[in-house]
């Protein structure tokens, strides 16, 4: 299963589901990363983490550890 963590800069992906539980999962979903939404990988921070994505028309940053919970295709 491919996750958002493995995505390359410049890719546009469709979210197929979120793994994990509790506060982190809820937060990721509250911010608009839900099933079926498309995300664009904008860039990676200078030190390699976190990543910046565009979702639902705005910019969001999340750590790779959290991005691993987002399954994509």
């Amino acid at each position: 299963m491919k996750t958002l963590k493995d995505a390359k800069v410049g890719e546009t992906l469709t979210v197929t589901g979120i793994t994990g539980t509790g506060a982190v999962k809820r937060r990721i979903m509250d911010m608009g990363i839900t099933k079926g939404v498309s995300v664009y990988i904008r860039k990676v921070a200078p030190l390699g983490d976190p990543v910046e994505i565009t979702v639902r028309g705005y910019e969001l940053s999340l750590r790779k550890a959290d991005a691993e919970m987002v399954e994509t295709e």
Binding site: V24, D30, M31, G32, K35, E59, D66
Partner: protein
């Protein structure tokens, strides 16, 4: 009728700007009960009977963050008459996510679509009529920044509040609605009719906080479990995700036809800025430059000028209006000092030549020197051919009797002669007290106690305001979020936020604004951790202590000062890792899922307002504790049982000296168990540089003042540390480390209290710092002493126990949430 309107919206939606525009200056800033979240309330500018409550900026009403819980508790329990929901028009989809949740509370909602000017500029089309109809509430277009539509929005909110009833129109898919209706049925007797839907959805989501509050009977709970698990099987998802998905699906249906995004084509200005500013290669250099500018202006240059002006000018001798005349005065002082050197050198030379100078020195020190004596001396000196040499920065000057005569005539420069001199508060008040023949103890209390204390509070404010202006700008323009983005990787390892960088950087100048700068960190846990560790970094006032120890005990070795910073950084890293694993900071780490808002130019008014709010809250919340503590230490160090009973005494007879004697034994394992060192630690709490001055007074009371690095007392200090610690250098270094890491000055303690907003947390922070400092000092002293051959078995055992304990704390697994619960329930 008085109406309360709650202002709700996402962070970065312009909520603060709207709040300021609605209320003007009718604001009260406080805290939500029991938490560090700031609470702002105000009265509507054009309808004074309408109260506006500004809720924290939130994305959702989940039970997981402090802000969200505060907001929803307020909405459920206090039931404002209406909610004015501000949404960012350039980011409708995510902003409406909160709207769908607000609409379920049974409180009338009015939606204000903000940033309409930007939306129209980019060519996006929002059909307010359709949006309003689909959302089931009034929708108003506004621009908080430009001030358009604001009155209409407020009027609509008041109208909605007066109308009262409100039913949400939105609906989820059939299966979910079915489940919710079923749960609503079960809750009927428990909750109010208009809040039924909210509670039903929360119960469906399995929201623990709501479930606890409802305390349903077991049969109903079982029934609900069944309904939820059925839905979960049907959707093949968990209950929380089902609702979140449904909301976004619903929003998509609302926006279809109501919102048309223009074809962007090229990048927006914000995109272009971001491409450069967080570019993989340029991001760090740009970050370094911005931080340098902030540091250079708010700490090195303007900030120091402001602090010096406040401390040495307004609360010192006085100051020149606009600084005019200052340079001339300083030059004159320099000349005068050089003349003094010359006379001294000449007199010394004359003495060597066998001339009696006693009478001369006496007359020179008197108010009006006797010219007869001077002339006679000059004649004698000329006869003997006395000549002296002075050396000022390499220029050797020969002083003969003519030069001496000139130098003797030189008058001490007066401040008033060089420009418009404004005397400092203590000078003015002192003159007044003298005039009314005020009792000495009272004028001492007023001048040194109270005015000194007020000066300690206000002295930092000008510099703080400069820093706050930068912070407000960086926050408002959107760069602060990028700071977290860039620095996150380094800081999160120690349980800190990327935004902790700024407090620590500012902390190298002064810990007080450094602590206040932690306000920009959203996560409660990261913020508390930052507050606790910021003052480990040596601030400007600790530099004299470093200079003193380095000069007195290490011959001014180059490595002492850098090692102090190294000790500070190591203390932060160790503390971060240790604290992160304790029950106090346990639980799920706050997810770093952060919006990077579009860049935009903030307005001057908002920046200034934010700057002032923070400065004022420091004065108000930190002022009392600083003032009282300063007066107390002033009293303890100046009063005691002297030869004539209780009264004003010199410091070595003071109550503080007595206290120092009592507590000195505590510091014996650290190598400085001596009352003088203990007393200097205590006076260091007023301001860290006082440590040097206190040693000066205690070792050489005949000197009026010692140099900043205390060079006059280096030998005394060295002898003292050699006596108490065996090896002066080791004891001195332990003393340095202890003073660098222990409780900061009262001003910083006040700032900690203000930011923690809890006496318990403040005490914990100070206690932690002192214990950490004590252990660090002990380990350094004992181990280093053992290495040079002064082995103390109990000392070594204690050191190893501390090290083992620290290693255990560093490498043990973190306390999990289950354990945390046990701790909580035990407490």
């Amino acid at each position: 009728m008085s109406v309360t309107i709650a202002l709700a919206g996402n962070p970065n939606s312009g909520k603060t700007t709207l709040f300021n525009a609605l209320t003007g200056s009718n604001q009260f800033v406080g805290n939500w009960p029991g938490v560090t979240v700031e609470k702002k309330e105000g009265r509507l500018k054009f309808r004074k009977d309408v109260r506006i409550a500004d809720l924290p900026g939130i994305y959702s009403l989940s039970p997981y963050t402090l802000e969200e819980v505060v907001a929803r508790n307020y909405l459920i329990n206090e039931k404002p008459d209406a909610i004015l929901n501000i949404v960012d028009g350039s980011n409708l989809e995510r902003n409406l996510y909160l709207t769908t949740q607000l609409a379920e509370l049974g409180i009338p909602v009015v939606v204000a679509v903000n940033m309409m000017d930007i939306v129209e500029k980019t060519g996006d089309k929002i059909d307010i009529g359709v949006l309003s109809q689909r959302l089931g509430c009034k929708v108003v277009k506004i621009s908080a920044l430009k001030g358009t539509g604001i009155k209409e929005a407020a009027d609509e909110a008041i109208k909605a509040a007066e109308k009262g009833s409100f039913t949400p129109v939105h609906s989820f898919s059939g299966e979910v609605e079915h489940a919710i209706a079923h749960i609503e049925d079960l809750l009927k007797d428990k909750v109010k009719k208009e809040q039924e839907r909210w509670f039903a959805i929360k119960v469906f989501e399995g929201d623990k906080k709501v479930m606890e509050a409802l305390s349903l009977d077991p049969s109903a709970e079982k029934e609900i479990k069944k309904i939820v698990s059925e839905a979960e099987t049907e959707f093949d998802d968990d209950c929380e995700s089902i609702i979140t998905n449904e909301r976004y699906v619903y929003i998509a249906s609302v926006l279809r036809g109501a919102y048309k995004k223009a074809d962007r084509g090229s990048l927006t200005v914000s995109d272009k800025i971001d491409k450069i500013v967080t570019n993989r290669i340029l991001a760090l250099p740009i970050f370094a430059v911005i931080m340098f500018i902030v540091y250079y202006i708010s700490v090195t240059t303007v900030g120091t000028i402001a602090t010096d002006w406040a401390n040495d000018g307004v609360f010192g001798d006085g100051w020149y209006l606009l600084g005019i005349g200052r340079a001339a005065y300083e030059e004159a002082v320099e000349e005068y000092d050089a003349a003094q050197d010359r006379t001294e050198a000449f007199i010394a030379a004359a003495e060597e030549a066998g001339i009696d100078t006693e009478e001369l020195v006496e007359t020179l020190q008197s108010e009006e020197p006797d010219s007869g004596i001077i002339d006679e001396f000059l004649l004698q000196a000329a006869d003997a051919g006395v000549e002296a040499e002075t050396d000022s920065e390499g220029d050797v000057l020969v002083v003969d009797s003519d030069a001496f005569a000139q130098a003797v005539d030189a008058a001490e420069p007066e401040n008033g002669d060089f420009g418009i001199w404004i005397p400092g508060v203590p000078v003015i008040v002192g003159a007044f007290l003298e005039k009314i023949n005020c009792a000495e103890w009272l004028s001492g209390l007023i001048l040194d106690g109270i005015i000194g204390g007020v000066g300690a509070v206000l002295g930092f404010v000008p510099q703080m305001l400069i820093l706050f202006m930068f912070l407000a700008f960086l926050e408002a323009c959107g760069y602060m979020a990028r700071v977290a983005f860039i620095m996150d990787r380094i800081f999160r390892k120690f349980g800190l936020s990327g935004k902790s960088f700024i407090p620590m950087l500012i902390g190298t100048g002064c810990g007080v604004p450094g602590i206040m700068a932690s306000r920009t960190i959203e996560s409660d846990r990261d913020r508390k951790m930052t507050i606790m560790t910021t003052t480990f970094i040596p601030c400007g006032a600790k530099l004299p202590i470093i200079a003193l120890i380095s000069g007195a005990l290490f011959g001014g070795a180059w490595w002492v000062a850098p090692s102090a910073y190294f000790v500070g950084v190591v203390a932060i890293i160790i503390s971060g890792i240790i604290l992160k694993k304790t029950a106090l900071f346990a639980g799920d780490p706050a997810p770093f899922v952060m919006e990077l808002p579009a860049y935009h130019m903030p307005t001057l008014g908002n920046v200034l307002r934010s700057m002032w709010e923070r400065g004022w809250s420091f004065i108000k919340k930190a002022g009392t504790i600083i003032l009282l503590a300063t007066i107390l230490v002033w009293f303890l160090s100046g009063y005691g049982f002297g030869d004539n009973g209780f009264g004003a005494v010199s410091m070595d007879q003071s109550l503080l000296a007595a206290i120092g004697n009592c507590i000195a034994f505590i510091f014996r394992p650290l190598g400085f168990g001596d009352w003088k060192a203990a007393v200097a630690c205590v006076t260091g709490l007023i301001a860290k540089e006082n440590v040097v001055g206190t040693f000066g007074v205690l070792f050489r009371p005949e000197l009026a003042e010692v140099a900043e690095d205390g060079m006059e007392i280096w030998t005394n200090l060295s002898a003292n540390f050699a006596r108490t610690g065996g090896n002066a250098a080791i004891a001195g270094y332990a003393y340095l480390v202890f003073n660098l890491l222990c409780a900061p000055c009262f001003a910083a303690i006040g700032a900690i209290k203000r930011e923690m907003n809890s006496p318990k947390w403040t005490l914990f922070a100070i206690g932690y710092q002192c214990v950490f400092a004590y252990f660090a000092g002990l380990v350094i002293f004992q181990i280093a002493s053992a290495v040079v051959g002064n082995v103390s078995i109990p000392g070594l055992i204690a050191s190893f126990l501390i090290i083992i304990f620290a290693l255990y704390l560093l490498f043990r697994p973190a306390v999990t949430e289950a354990k945390e619960k046990r701790v909580n329930s035990a407490a």
